[in-house]
Structures are given as C-alpha cells and as structure tokens.
Symmetry: C2
Subunit: 175 residues, 2 copies
DNA sequence: GGATCGTCCTAACGGTGTTAGACGTTCCTA
DNA sequence: TAGGAACGTCTAACACCGTTAGGACGATCC
C-alpha cells in the first residue's frame, strides 16, 4: 500500500480496510501508527539483510569490481522503490524515528558492510563513511531528479571508481 | 518557527497566532499551506543564491582549494539548519513538491554551480553530478548520524579531495 | 458452567487543513 | 458627496486524521 499510494499518505483506516477491520482494531496489534512504521522499518532492513548472502556468495574477487557490485546491490534495492527508500534512508514521517530494536538490523547491515569493505580494500573508517555517503547521495539524486530512469546507475559506477582510485585499488578490466 | 518546532510540525494556527491572526485569514495571503512551503522553498534557495557572490568573490585560485570552499559553503548553509536542509534537499512534506516558479532559484544555483565547477576544473557533466551527490550525501549523513557535530566536515574535505584526484586536479598545500 | 482473555466493534475526542459566509474598513468613482 | 466594489479579517463548520473509551462477542481454560 505504501508503494502504491505513498508512505506518508498511508492511513490507518485504509490499512484496516485492507485487512478487513476498522481502524481502532489495529490498536490491538500495534501500539500506534508509528509502531507500524517501526515494524516496516525493521522489516525493510531485515529484507535487505537477507539478500546479503547472495551478494557475498557471488562477490567478484577483484576489490574494485566487488565494491561496484556492493554499491549496485544496495542501489538496486532502494532506487527502484521510493517508499522503501524513504523508509530506510530518509526521515519523511513526521515525528517518527525508529526504536532501537527496529534499528538493529540496519546497524548490523552497516557494520557488516563496513567490515566487508575494510577486508576488501583496507580503507580507513572515514573513507568507508565517504563511500556510504556517496552511494546514499546518488540514490537521493536518482529519486529527486530521475526517478524511474537509469542515468544514476552509470554515475554510481563512476563514483565508486573515484573512491576506489582514492583508496588505492588497482584498476580492473572494466576500466 | 520551522527551525524551533520542526518543519512539518508547523501548524497554520500557530503561524496565524504568530502574526496576530486566525488560521483561515492566512488564506487571504496564501492559497494553501503548501503555498507557504512553496514560498519558503523559493526563499531558502534565493537566500543561498544571495550568498554566492561572497563565495565567488573570495574564491581561492587553486582549483582544489576552491572546490573545497564551494562544498563547504553549501554544507555550512544547510548542515547547521535541519529545517532548511529538509526544505531544500529533502521531500519531508507530505504531498508537497515545489512549483516551477519556486524551483527557479534552485535551478539557477545548480546551473551556476555547474558552470563554475566546469570552468574551475574542466570536469565532465557526469563528474559534476557525482560531486553534487557526494556533498548532498554527506550533509544527509551529518543530519542522520551526527547532527550538531563536526565529524562530517572532515569527511567533506576528504570526499572533495577524492573527487579532485579523480578529475585530475593538482594537489594544493593543504595536502 | 462460569470466569477470563482476546478480538473486534461503535462512538467520540482533539487536532489538522480548509471552506463558507458575514462583517467592518478603505478607497475609487459617478 | 454618496454608493459600491474590494479587501482583510472573523466565526462557524466541514471532512479527515490518529487515538481512546467502553462494550459486545466468541473461544479458552479452570
């Protein structure tokens, strides 16, 4: 429903209708609307977490190619779904910030990504953060300026290559 | 008011109170609440546009130093003010997207920045877009993970340096 | 067989953006 | 100088939102 009508446009009465209930009955299952968003936030990051083994199982051996693949993997997950991107990476819901429990999968994912990147490239923590910001920034730009398009997928590879050059990764055969 | 109580928490009745009116009277001046956000959006970008001459007047001659200065200038403008950042760079207001007239200053600023960067560095358009995404991504990270802190100012310089290396800018004396 | 629990309901509350319609003031014009 | 349009503000009220209160109903369990 969030995907079709918008994450913030979601209404408790709509949700209740969808599951054959009245809005107040939802409060027997969730403490508040924010609690629903909380569960959605946790689920979105858990869903992404579940895709990581696939990614890491088929990770290219060349560090630079691998970094491109990791970035593209996350990009594809969030750039194709505005609602999911807003939920995971932006704070578009009025007074909502995730609970620490809901935050846990996202923390795990980021820590795991950090370890993976360091193991792969030997980059310093600060450089990994720059890489995260770069990927996030490009996803933002995509949704703001070219939602549905594919221009920013090219920019993503270019950005990752810049970063790879900066941390001293050797070129691969795609360059 | 947006700065103190939050951009989306802003209420027409609050705004009306502040100017000694009742909420419906605002509709004699603005067509809707979104029209107010529209005016704020335009004003924020116009305000930033007004600071550009100061920046470009004192622009360092070294391209790399200049790129750092430009990035820091925009960063300082939006990273210190969450409401302004949400207004200018994110879409946190429910059904709101700026009108084309309100969008004009932001388009002017970005086109001008683009020309300046190309003149300064000779970078390709795609690379300029990567630079924009990088700066925006770091501002996002700042507000999400370190609002009020200064960790990301350092990362900004580091990111710009990565980019400068990639487009072939010579080192300056800060490296 | 009766108490308990869980689940759902209707009714309603306070708050939101917004509209309708009335009122007084200002200011131009016949 | 009188009449009237235009303007700006008001109160009252609407529809919608998240949320709470309180009760009806069935299944479960002692």
């Amino acid at each position: 429903m969030a995907r079709s009508k918008g994450l913030v446009e979601l209404t408790l009465r709509d949700v209740a209708d969808r599951v054959g209930m009245r809005a107040p009955s939802l409060y027997g299952h969730f403490a508040s609307k924010h609690a629903i968003y909380d569960a959605m936030f946790e689920q979105a990051w858990s869903d992404y977490e579940a895709t990581i083994p696939d990614l890491e199982g088929a990770l290219p051996s060349h560090p630079r190619t691998a970094m491109r693949a990791i970035a593209a993997h996350f990009y594809d997950f969030t750039a194709t779904d505005l609602a999911r991107h807003q939920l995971m990476n932006q704070s578009v819901i009025a007074g909502f910030s995730p609970s620490s429990e809901a935050y846990a999968p996202s923390v795990r994912v980021l820590e795991r990504a950090h370890r993976t990147v360091v193991a792969l490239t030997g980059a310093r923590t600060e450089d990994v953060e720059v890489w995260v910001a770069l990927v996030g920034g490009l996803i933002n730009q995509h949704h703001a300026n070219d939602a549905g398009g594919s221009r920013h997928r090219v920019l993503l590879d270019r950005g990752v290559d810049m970063w790879a050059d900066a941390v001293g990764l050797p070129p691969d055969d795609q360059q």
